[in-house]
C-alpha cells in the first residue's frame, strides 16, 4: 500500500526549487535510506515530506489521516527549553491515535521503556547526552503510533549502544508494516535493514540499489 507519492515534484524554498523532477513513492514496510553530500537537499526533501515546505511544483499524494512520526536532529532543538524527558515524550500524545483513542501517560511510559529512558523521565532534556536525546525524540514519535517514520540522521553523533537501540526499534516497526525514511551519513551500518535507497544529488533524487549505497564504492560515490 502506497503511503506517500511524489510526482514530478520541485522542492525548495519560496519559489526556488532546490530539487527538481522528484518522483518516488513510499509503501508500508519500506525501510528507505536517504543519502547525499552536505548541502545536496536531503533536509529540504525531508521537510517537504512532513509538510513543512510546500511543493514548488508537481504533486504529493498521501491517504487522508496519514500519521507521521518525525525525529529531527537533536542539535536543531533549543538547549534552554525548560522541558523534562517526560514532557518531550508526552508531546507525542498531543494528537489522538489512529483508533480515536488518546494516548496518555501509560503509552508515554511504555515508549520511554522501549528506548531505555524510563529512569530518566524526570530529568531535564537539555542535560541528556546526544544519544539519549535522540532516543527521547524517537519515543515521542513512537507514542502516536505512526504509519511513517521520518528521521533526520538519528544515529549521527550517537554512541553504538544508543544507535543499536534506535535501529532495533525501527527494524521492528518496519517488519510490522510501518514505513521508515531515514537520512543518514552512515549507510554501511544500515545494510542489513534498508530495503530501498535514494541518492540525493545533481539537484534531484535517484533510486539506487541498496547494495550500491551500502558499499564502500557507494559511499565513495556519495561524497564525490
Amino acid at each position: 500500500m502506497s503511503l506517500l507519492t511524489l510526482e514530478k515534484a520541485g522542492l525548495g524554498y519560496s519559489s526556488k526549487a532546490v530539487l527538481s523532477n522528484v518522483g518516488f513513492s513510499i509503501a508500508a514496510g519500506d525501510f528507505l535510506l536517504l543519502a547525499g553530500a552536505n548541502g545536496s537537499g536531503k533536509s529540504t526533501l525531508l521537510r517537504s515530506l512532513i509538510g513543512a515546505l510546500p511543493l514548488v511544483q508537481g504533486k504529493m499524494d498521501s491517504p487522508p489521516g496519514l500519521r507521521i512520526g518525525y525525529v529531527p536532529q537533536q542539535l536543531s532543538l533549543p538547549a534552554f527549553f525548560p522541558v523534562t524527558v517526560q514532557d518531550v515524550v508526552t508531546m507525542g500524545t498531543w494528537r489522538g491515535s489512529k483508533d480515536g483513542h488518546n494516548p496518555g501517560r501509560a503509552e508515554a511510559d511504555q515508549a520511554l521503556t522501549q528506548v531505555g529512558l524510563e529512569k530518566r523521565r524526570a530529568q531535564s532534556f537539555a542535560q541528556l547526552s546526544g544519544g539519549q536525546k535522540q532516543r527521547a525524540l524517537l519515543a515521542r514519535a513512537l507514542v502516536s503510533n505512526p504509519d511513517l517514520f521520518v528521521l533526520d540522521e538519528p544515529i549521527s553523533g550517537v554512541d553504538e549502544a544508543a544507535a543499536a537501540v534506535i535501529l532495533k526499534i525501527l527494524a521492528e516497526k518496519a517488519s510490522a508494516g510501518v514505513a521508515v525514511v531515514m537520512v543518514t551519513h552512515q549507510p554501511l551500518a544500515l545494510a542489513d535493514l534498508a530495503t530501498r535507497a535514494l541518492l540525493v544529488h545533481k539537484q534531484s533524487v535517484e533510486e539506487i540499489p541498496v547494495a550500491e549505497m551500502c558499499s564502500l564504492e557507494g559511499v565513495a560515490r556519495l561524497w564525490a
Binding site: R47, I50, G51, A52, I68, G69, Y70, P72, S76, L77, P78, F80, F81, P82, V83, T84, Q86, D87, V88, M91, W94, R95, A122, S124, R140, S144, V150
Partner: protein, 291 residues
Amino acid sequence: MGLIEDFDLYWELFATSFLASIVVGVVLPQVGGMMYLRRESFVGIAVPQFAAAGVALGLFLLPWFPSLQESFLDHGHPPLDYLLVFAAGAACLSMLLFSIVLKRQRGEPGALLAGAFATAAALAILFLDGSPAGNNLAETVLRGAVLLLDEHGLWLLTGVCLLTMIFIMAARRSLLAIAFDCDNAIAMRLPVAWLELAQMMLFGLAIGGGVMTVGPVLVFGLLFLPPLAASALASGLRSFQILLSICGLLSVLAAWPLSIEFDLPYGPSAVISAAALTLLCLGLGRLQRRA
C-alpha cells in the same frame, strides 16, 4: 503616613491601579514566556515600542475625531478604546512584519530589531510633537505612571488580558509543541499557521493594551524578566508556566510599598522588583544545580 496605617486611604485611591498591576503581573509574563520559548524575546523589545508609537499616532490623529478630543480635553479621560486600536494595531503589524522578515533570514536579526526599535521610538516622539492634546498623557504613560488608570481602563486591560490568557491556556499544548519543534508540530498536523496568526494577534493586543494603560516600561519588564527567573528554577513546562505568573505577581506586588513609601513611579519600581527577583532566582537556580 505609612502604607499599613493608612491602608484604607491608599486602597480607595489606588484600588484600580492595584488590580491592573495584578492583571498584567499574571498575564504578561505568560506572553513573554511564550516568546522566550520561541526564541523571539528580541522581537518583544521592539513590539512595545511600536505599540507606544501607535498610541502617539492615535493622539496625533485625535483632532480628526472632534467628539473624542472634546471629551478628552473637557473631562481628562483618555479615549482608551480609540487608542487601543492604534496600540494593538501597531503591535500586531510589527509582529507580522518581523515574522515575515525573520523567516526570510535577510540580514542580522539583532541589527534589524535594533533599527526597528530606533525607528519606532523616533516615530513616537514625532507624533507626540504634533499632538499637544495628548502630550501630557503620553508622557505619564511612557513613564509607567499606572496610578492614573481609571475604571474603564482597568476593564479594557482585563478584557484584553483575559482573552489572551484563555487562548494561551486553551492552546497551551499546541503552542508549546510549536515552540519546541515547529517541524514536528507540522508533521503532527497541528494547525500551525492559524495558531501562529492567532498568537500574534492576541499577543499584539495584550502588549498594545498593556503599553496604553500601564506603559512600555512595565510591559518590557514583565515580558522579559519573569521568563529568565522562571527558567532558572523550572524543571519542566508546567512548573515554568506556574513560576512565570508567580514571579510576575511577586514583582508587581513588591513594587507597591516601594513606590508609595519612596514616592517613586510605579512602573519602574515594578521592573526593579522583577530584576531583583530574577537575580535571586538565577542564584537559587545555580545553587540547585550544584546540589
